[in-house]
């Protein structure tokens, strides 16, 4: 393995962070805020680290699989570290643990926060917080590749490591083209949402930061009471629609933009995801109405935003879901686990895998009924290989195992069962808020330092699609002597 190639591409990822730090510093300077120097200093440090390897290491077209994995994982970890700099240097509520938690939560687009008072933070720091979502949303590596089109083969390897197996399986486009499509859709959606939010009454700053958080399915708001602060049904519906769109495979969204609606509706995953969401929203709205929490129109709006928010692992809120009746809370937990479609920036198990699990159950039933028949699982009228089905089922099994292990560890740190379980599901799935004190109107400030570290590890495991995380830390992966 050529470590210097890894250094070059990781440096590029860090350089992208520094650009956003610089923009945040400018916002701070414009508003004469105390966060200007911390942001500027962080930007300079990251620029220096980002530029220096580029001076030494020439660009390359050939990147091996191991190098690709190392680039992806190191880019994440070093971005987390770089992301803590503005927080730690600013001080206030940010101890190193808190800064790390906020940074990891931002980059992994989780949206869990340790901040009890968000609105007292300087605008520059709030912009940086939202930027970590946007950078992390599409993945630092894809970002790097989008601005560096000269990389040829490297794209394929990096892309393989960045996105889940499911995406690889159903993504028929060439990786280079795919990355350009993803970036295009991502930027396009962000711009469209920013304009709409601005038109419907948000300030430009809030519109940009909330768009960053929506499209990245992150959930960091600039307000303590999240979307509820704006008291605007129009804004709530815009955010709900964009959250829903951000949960769909970006390449499929591109087919819609290209005018190919048929291919979009042919996707069984999109149909499953949409129907599940609609069903969940209707049930939640019904429950809110019959329990006297809201009238039909309000109940429907509240159910749509809050359920789509957890179902796409965004984490915005327009109501305190911790005080909702049992049925909506159960649905929230289900959608936290399920997540949206692969190929988006959402977390969770992903609808694709859940659909495969359901289909494989049907396959098993038919196999038991007709032992001699050759029975395959079909998705979108094409058969799915058995190893892919097995992979999805194993993933779900392992996912649940991590949920229970995480819950156990968090209970040991002093959280209640509901908080530990919902917190684990929320951080592993990149959702953000859980239930109880860490619910949609709460925060993670009261969680112990150990608890915060466990949650942040869960966020990383979830973001790296579990297997990539464990492959990276498997000793045999790096057993061969490194060669330069």
């Amino acid at each position: 393995m050529r470590l210097y190639n890894v250094v070059r591409y990781v440096a590029l990822a860090i350089l992208i962070n520094s650009v956003f730090m610089l923009i945040s510093a400018l916002i701070s300077a414009f508003n004469s805020e105390s966060s200007f120097i911390p942001l500027l200093y962080s930007a300079l440090i990251t620029v220096l680290f980002g530029v220096f390897p580029l001076i030494f290491v020439p660009p390359t077209q050939e990147i091996s699989n191991k190098e690709g994995l190392l680039i992806v994982v190191l880019s994440w970890f070093l971005s987390f570290l770089a992301g803590t700099l503005p927080y730690v240097l600013y001080g206030g509520p940010f101890t190193f643990t808190n800064a790390w938690f906020e940074s990891v939560s931002g980059y992994t687009t989780t949206g869990s926060s340790i901040l009890a008072e968000i609105e007292v933070l300087p605008l520059g720091l709030l912009f940086w917080r939202a930027s970590t979502h946007w950078i992390g949303g599409i993945g630092i590596i894809i970002f790097v590749l989008a601005v560096l089109p000269f990389i040829g083969l490297a794209e394929v390897v990096l892309f393989r490591s960045e996105l889940s197996n499911m995406v690889r399986e159903n993504f028929r486009k060439r990786a280079g083209t795919a990355i350009r499509i993803l970036a295009g859709v991502y930027i396009g959606l962000t711009l469209a949402e920013t304009i709409l939010l601005y038109v419907f009454g948000m300030s430009l700053f809030d519109a940009v930061t909330h768009s960053f958080a929506t499209i990245a399915t992150g959930g960091f708001s600039t307000k303590n009471s999240s979307i509820a602060w704006f008291k605007s049904p129009a804004i709530e519906w815009i955010i709900t629609i964009f959250m829903f769109l951000s949960g769909i495979h970006f390449a499929l969204l591109f087919t819609v933009v290209s005018g190919n609606l048929r291919e979009f509706w042919r996707s069984s995953v999109v149909r499953f995801y949409s129907l599940a969401m609609v069903g969940g929203i209707l049930l939640t709205a019904y429950s809110l109405k019959v329990n006297g929490i809201a009238e039909w129109t309000t109940a429907f709006r509240l159910a749509a935003l809050n359920l789509v928010s957890v179902g796409t692992s965004t984490g915005f809120a327009s109501a305190d879901t911790a005080v909702w009746p049992g049925l909506p809370q159960l649905l929230i937990i289900y959608f936290m686990l399920q997540g949206a479609c692969a190929g988006s920036t959402t977390g969770g198990m992903k609808s694709d895998r859940v659909l495969l699990l359901i289909k494989s159950f049907g396959q098993q039933l038919r196999r038991l009924m007709y032992p001699n028949a050759v029975i395959q699982v079909y998705m979108d009228k094409s058969s799915v290989r058995d190893d892919i089905v097995a992979n999805a089922v194993q993933y779900i099994g392992f996912y649940l195992f991590i949920v229970f292990s995480g819950t156990l560890l968090e209970i040991l740190t002093g959280l209640t069962l509901v908080e530990a379980f919902s917190g684990t599901v929320a951080t592993l799935g990149g959702v953000g808020p859980g239930l109880g004190s860490i619910g949609s109107m709460g925060n993670f400030s009261a969680v112990s330092a150990i608890g915060k570290w466990i949650f942040s590890i869960l966020m990383i495991i979830g973001r790296l699609e579990i297997f990539a995380f464990f492959i990276f830390f498997h000793p045999k992966q790096w057993s061969k002597k490194l060669t330069y």
Partner: protein
């Protein structure tokens, strides 16, 4: 980019990192020293003035009791000195208003003190007030306690502000430490990175060229070194390759 520039950029980056950290630390330390002076100016002196006011009040209270015992001369003498002290410290506190609510607090002290002063300003000895314990407890002592309470309010206000400022100072001390600590860690990591890149792109190629030249000279093996960077090492390798080619031609012609 040439080797000289590459090396220089490394050292420059290190210097810039440390310079920026130093600059920021100086700024934070300067802020710290200013804040310490602010505490002294804004709060400590006001607290000292309030304490002297309290002391003067106590003496005035004793003087009133002396007056009630019929010893007018001694009592008035003590009252005169204590009143001067009180008024002087009150005026000083007025000239040192630095925190919100301090003026209102001083106004209250003045108002209550004027009322208190009115009570003992009138003759006491040889009047119905001499030895009148009821007058003392119902009017003088209550007024004395009211003035004292308002002086204590001023002390508390300044105490609280001093605590807040000290807490901010603690936070600032952390802030002053962070740039230095960050620069230290960054410089350390950067040194490792710099060292690694120098080894890979300068030391290792030189060793490789030396090894290949040695093998060419001793075993006649061909000189096959590929240098990707377009710097002095690349030109050096090219020149050595040319030299080996000439030497090879010379050897075969002999």
């Amino acid at each position: 980019m040439g080797l000289r520039l590459k090396m220089l950029s490394g050292f420059l980056i290190l210097t810039v990192m440390l310079f920026l950290a130093g600059l920021w630390s100086v700024y934070e330390l300067n802020y710290l020293s200013t804040s310490v002076q602010d505490i002294l100016d804004e709060n400590y002196e006001s607290i000292e003035a309030a304490k002297l006011m309290n002391e003067a009040l106590e003496r005035e209270d004793s003087a009133v009791l002396i007056l009630m015992l019929g010893r007018s001369h001694e009592g008035r003498k003590i009252l005169h000195v204590a009143d001067s002290t009180f008024t002087d410290r009150l005026n000083f506190a007025y000239s040192n208003i630095t925190i919100p609510g301090e003026k209102e607090s001083l106004d209250l002290i003045r108002e209550r003190y004027n009322h208190y002063k009115q009570l003992w300003g009138r003759p006491v000895a040889d009047t119905e007030r001499e030895g009148n314990v009821d007058w003392y407890f119902n009017q003088v002592h209550n007024s004395f306690l009211a003035v004292k309470e308002s002086v204590n309010l001023l002390i508390n206000l300044n105490d609280r502000t001093m605590y807040d400022t000290a807490s901010r100072l603690k936070e600032k001390a952390r802030s002053a430490m962070m740039p230095g600590l960050t620069a230290l860690i960054a410089a350390l990591v950067f040194t490792f990175l710099f060292n690694y890149l120098i080894h890979v792109f300068i030391i290792d190629p030189i060793l490789l060229i030396t090894d290949r030249v040695k093998k060419f000279r001793e075993k006649g093996l061909p000189y096959d070194v590929k240098i990707n960077s377009k710097d002095e090492i690349f030109y050096l390798s090219g020149a050595v390759e040319e030299l080996c080619y000439i030497a090879e031609l010379d050897r075969t012609s002999k």
